[in-house]
Symmetry: C2
Subunit: 165 residues, 2 copies
Amino acid sequence: MGVEIERKFLVRGDAWKTLATGVLLRQGYLSSHPERVVRVRIEGGAARLTIKGKSSGASRGEWEYPIPLADAQVFLDTLCERPIIEKYRYRIPCGGLTWEVDEFLGENAGLIVAEIELASEDQAFERPDWVDEEVTHDARYFNSSLLRHPYARWPTGGAGAYLDE
Amino acid sequence: MGVEIERKFLVRGDAWKTLATGVLLRQGYLSSHPERVVRVRIEGGAARLTIKGKSSGASRGEWEYPIPLADAQVFLDTLCERPIIEKYRYRIPCGGLTWEVDEFLGENAGLIVAEIELASEDQAFERPDWVDEEVTHDARYFNSSLLRHPYARWPTGGAGAYLDE
């Protein structure tokens, strides 16, 4: 078990795209309940199951277990909540840390977010030009929310008049 | 992954109790959704995570992964749906197969069921005297149902006038 401290930002322009190569990532949820998320993810031929507890500020209990690729494929294709999420993930080293930029596909196409994992909630970090507004606490951008309310269906296609149900 | 074929029965009398020693089993659900059950179980110092797909007759896709005991304790104590299930499990060899008899505690106290795992849905098996009525397809006896509708709260304390909501 670890405690995950992540901050999430929108992205401007496409300068970041020249800094890394995207890897296709498929993920889905056996549970998207915010107090007990169970996520299945395939990335670069490896699969894992991740369990996440309730968020508290930017911190969240997180536990990961590797699972056989074939199992993950069955889970994503037949068991997980619909739709599953597909995105390209770019890992961009910066100031001793790594930005993870996610370029979403399918019903979330058009959405690009950058995340950085920190050791503490107030840790300082370098913020490149292409990193825009912070959305860490904006529930619309939680992966579990993007299942129910994909980006393509947001009223303004962005941070506008959208209200959760 | 395996396909689980189990038949479930009520139990009469207590002759079965002299045939084995019960082991305390604690289990809870990260998801009790019938199409994607995620179960956490601790039994005899070992913990595992089990994923089950949708039932089809008495068959059901089932995948199991061992996990650290400490993780399972956190899941059961803080993450799983309430209440968790606690029961004594007795394993009773019989005619080359094994009956698993579950004696429930807590809100399901009074309920005792016997299960047998088979290689095919029509496999013959020996049926001891203490094995009573079959309840394989009776959803009230699914472990996931016993969370929401514990046995102690059934109208007749048994197979009577109870109707699911």
